[in-house]
């Protein structure tokens, strides 16, 4: 007997090349079977997903989930698992000094599967007014390496925010080098946050290693392209080398003009993340599925959009064996979505709006084989 059967939905699982109406069975918290038709009598609980889209549990690779310490932090479950995201990665809200409380009070208690990148600044992101790398003494390699090793089960790498509001121009490369040094000491990835007019992205990507991530890559300037600038050869080479270009929409880091140029240049994002935070959760970001819908609207295939929030981030995070897939034996994380039709207005981080005819919405979320039901807790 299966514990749960998700029945009759269109299963999109790019990790297995599946895009077809299938049933998904879960037992003991793991995916048990994905087949064209599974007998309902074999399941204790049945979730009808007819006309719905069934994906591996969505992964948001860029969130801020440390409210009360990080100025951008949001309650992790309200913004993630309740919105279809079973796994989220906090990107540098905490640094080595503030990580222990983040771990104890959020990571270990949240219903959402939470991972983190440690900020190379040991205080993390506390103030929106004073950059955490304004004083480079905060960029402490040893403390970061130690915290990374101690918390390797949940810390996947190091975050370095390299925009002009966070770090002085002259310190950028030093900060990045420290981030890489700390990450290397525990085998983690580095994610850089980019964005200022003075620093072309290709001057930073040359320093990254395969598997490292550029977030905010589709911003108005300082990203992979702009309304007036095509994707340069250096960035294609960086991608060929294995550098990951992530969305990280956020309140200030995603431009429809850039998306249009990049997609016209056949330079899709590798991963789609929301960077949802206190200053974007009430718009223009709202959540991950809205962010996905924007890329769908600008012409990406649904399969690709789903890959960018399932298989692809799982691999970047080094968790592809268990997450971001519906292969039998993997974690029983499943998101049921509806692709609604109508008239939807989307807004980018520059205030530009567009009208779309479709939008993804979360219907139900299953994590570890259990339907997320906060109203029954």
């Amino acid at each position: 007997l299966y514990d749960m059967l998700i029945r009759g939905g269109t299963v999109i699982d790019p990790s297995q090349g599946i895009d077809a109406v299938q049933d998904v069975a879960i037992t003991d918290g793991k995916v048990a079977a994905v087949e064209a038709s599974i007998n309902v009598n074999l399941a204790k609980e049945v979730i009808e997903a007819k006309d719905m889209i069934v994906t591996p549990g969505l992964i948001d690779m860029h969130v801020h989930a440390y409210p009360g310490v990080c100025c951008y932090g949001l309650e992790p479950d309200v913004t993630n698992i309740a919105r279809g995201v079973t796994t989220a990665m906090d990107c540098g809200s905490a640094g080595a000094r503030t990580f222990p409380a983040f771990r104890q009070h959020f990571i270990e208690r949240a219903e959402t599967r939470l991972y983190a990148l440690l900020n190379i600044s040991t205080m993390g992101i506390i103030s929106s007014k004073i950059g955490e790398l304004d004083d480079m003494r905060w960029a402490d390699v040893e403390e970061t390496a130690e915290a990374g090793r101690t918390n390797r089960d949940v810390v996947l790498g190091v975050k370095v925010r390299l925009s002009g509001d966070v770090v002085a121009m002259d310190d950028k490369l030093d900060a990045l080098k420290r981030g890489i040094e700390a990450a290397e000491s525990f085998g983690g990835i580095v994610m850089i946050h980019v964005g200022d007019k003075e620093t072309p992205l290709e001057t930073l990507t040359t320093h990254l290693r395969p598997g490292d991530v550029v977030t905010h890559a589709f911003r108005q300037w300082g990203g992979v392209a702009s309304a007036h600038r095509d994707v340069v050869a250096e960035l294609r080479e960086a991608r060929a080398r294995g550098i990951i270009f992530d969305v990280g929409h956020g309140a200030g880091s995603c431009s429809f003009d850039t998306i249009e140029t990049a997609l016209a240049n056949e330079f899709q994002p590798d991963t789609i993340s929301s960077d949802v935070s206190t200053i974007s959760v009430e718009g223009p970001v709202f959540d991950l599925v809205t962010t996905m819908s924007k890329f769908l609207h600008y012409g990406m295939e649904l399969d690709d959009v789903v890959r960018c929030t399932t298989e692809a981030p799982a691999q970047v995070m080094g968790l592809g064996e268990d997450l971001g897939t519906l292969r039998p034996g993997t974690n029983g994380d499943v998101t049921v979505l509806s692709l609604d039709e109508g008239e939807f207005t989307f807004t980018d981080a520059e205030g530009k709006t567009t009208r779309a005819g479709q939008k993804l919405n979360p219907v139900s979320t299953i994590k570890g084989g259990r339907l997320y039901r906060p109203w029954l807790r």
Binding site: G68, V69, C71, T98, A101, R103, M123, S127, I130, D135
Partner: protein, 373 residues
């Protein structure tokens, strides 16, 4: 039954009522219900305190209990209510930006009754390597006032750590900002002194009656004594006009030598606090009861040291109903034992003394209930 709890036959030491005599105390509905000679049959639970001391629940004006964000932090309940302190004031571990988390995840769930002094630095105390007031932009008066107003039930004052290691050259400017925020909120300022850029006298002169100097008996540069070991006139005058000189023992801020000289000249503390934190909880501080025992070794009476961690402290934080066993007040009490023997006690500069008596914590009652974690 009339009472939930009855503590029988202890030596009741309650300076707020001038009590120092054997008697019984009863609690009902979380409050002190009766003091005197009371009957066992009226109480659901009876504790025999024969040979023990019963005081109002102890208050510690200077603790650090924000572990995981502030590097100084220790677990709030282990270090306070578990050691006889029913009410503790965190002294600046959190600033305006980190207070929301501190409130929700530490203060509200704790069994210890916690209050806070908001650090004038909006990050609070995060790193031992980088001082929170080295960059004066962090001393954000507006942010402190807004956080203070939003949390006026818990924030009872403003903390400014003025040593060079925390404030660089900014001691005067940081204190000005702390006073501005405190004025707006109608609360006191606590300054941490020792190794400041400015002489202590200059900083203390800026304080208002009711403001607090912690680490008063430190042995570092710019203390309360002159080169001849006399209390500096300006310091004495400040105490006379109502500035409170608190102990704040800590890992580096209490010298038996300084305290001996000061006390011999009549310069007693206005409050005794431990400054308990991760760097001194395994010694030399251990806890608040050990700290007050050190002042007994220095010659103060039991009644005086109890007053300086009950009635006096409650008055500083303006907490009505705490620090007293008056009938109708909050039902917090601490049961202590006065042990005799040989006890080695060490200050923050490595001097050890051998005392022949020491107070030990026996039990804590909070809101009329025995604390049984």
């Amino acid at each position: 039954l009339k009472y939930d709890l009855l503590i029988k036959k202890g030596l009741v030491v309650d300076p707020s009522q001038g009590l120092n005599q054997v008697g019984d105390i009863a609690f009902a509905d979380g409050k002190v219900a009766a003091v005197g000679s009371l009957s066992d049959g009226d109480a659901a639970e009876v504790i025999d305190a024969t040979g023990l001391i019963v005081t109002p629940g102890l208050l510690d004006l200077h603790v650090h209990v924000f572990p995981g964000v502030s590097h100084f932090g220790v677990d709030a309940d282990h270090s306070n209510i578990g050691k006889g302190v029913t009410t503790a004031v965190d002294a600046g571990s959190a600033g305006a930006l980190t207070f929301p988390f501190f409130r929700k995840h530490i203060i509200e769930p704790a069994d210890t009754r916690l209050y806070s002094l908001l650090n004038i630095s909006s990050t609070g105390m995060i790193s031992p390597n980088i001082g929170e007031l080295e960059d004066l932009r962090l001393a954000d008066v507006e942010a402190a006032i807004a956080a203070g107003r939003a949390n006026r039930d818990l924030i009872v004052g403003i903390k400014a750590r003025l040593s060079r290691s925390t404030a660089g050259e900014n001691d005067v400017a940081a204190l000005e900002r702390a006073l501005e925020a405190a004025d707006a909120l109608g609360v006191f300022v606590m300054i941490h002194v020792g190794g400041t850029k400015s002489p202590m006298e200059k900083l203390v002169n800026m304080l208002r009656p009711g403001d607090v100097v912690t680490h008063s008996y430190h042995g570092n540069d710019y203390g309360i004594l002159d080169d001849a070991g006399r209390v500096i006139d300006g310091i004495k005058e400040a105490q006379q006009r109502g500035v409170i000189f608190d102990v704040g023992h800590g890992a580096g801020s209490f010298s038996f030598d300084v305290a001996e000289k000061a006390l011999s000249r009549g310069f007693n503390p206005g409050n005794i606090s431990s400054d308990i934190h991760i760097y001194n909880i395994e010694g030399p501080v251990f806890d608040q009861v050990t700290t007050i025992s050190k002042f007994m070794w220095l010659g103060m009476s039991l009644e005086d040291v109890v007053r300086l961690t009950t009635e006096s402290t409650a008055k500083i934080i303006d907490a009505d109903g705490l620090g007293t066993l008056k009938v109708g007040s909050v039902g917090d009490a601490t049961i202590l034992r006065r042990d005799e023997g040989k006890f080695i006690m060490t200050d923050s500069v490595g001097r050890s003394v051998t005392a022949n008596e020491k107070l030990a914590h026996v039990r804590t009652i909070r809101s009329g209930r025995v604390y049984r974690p």
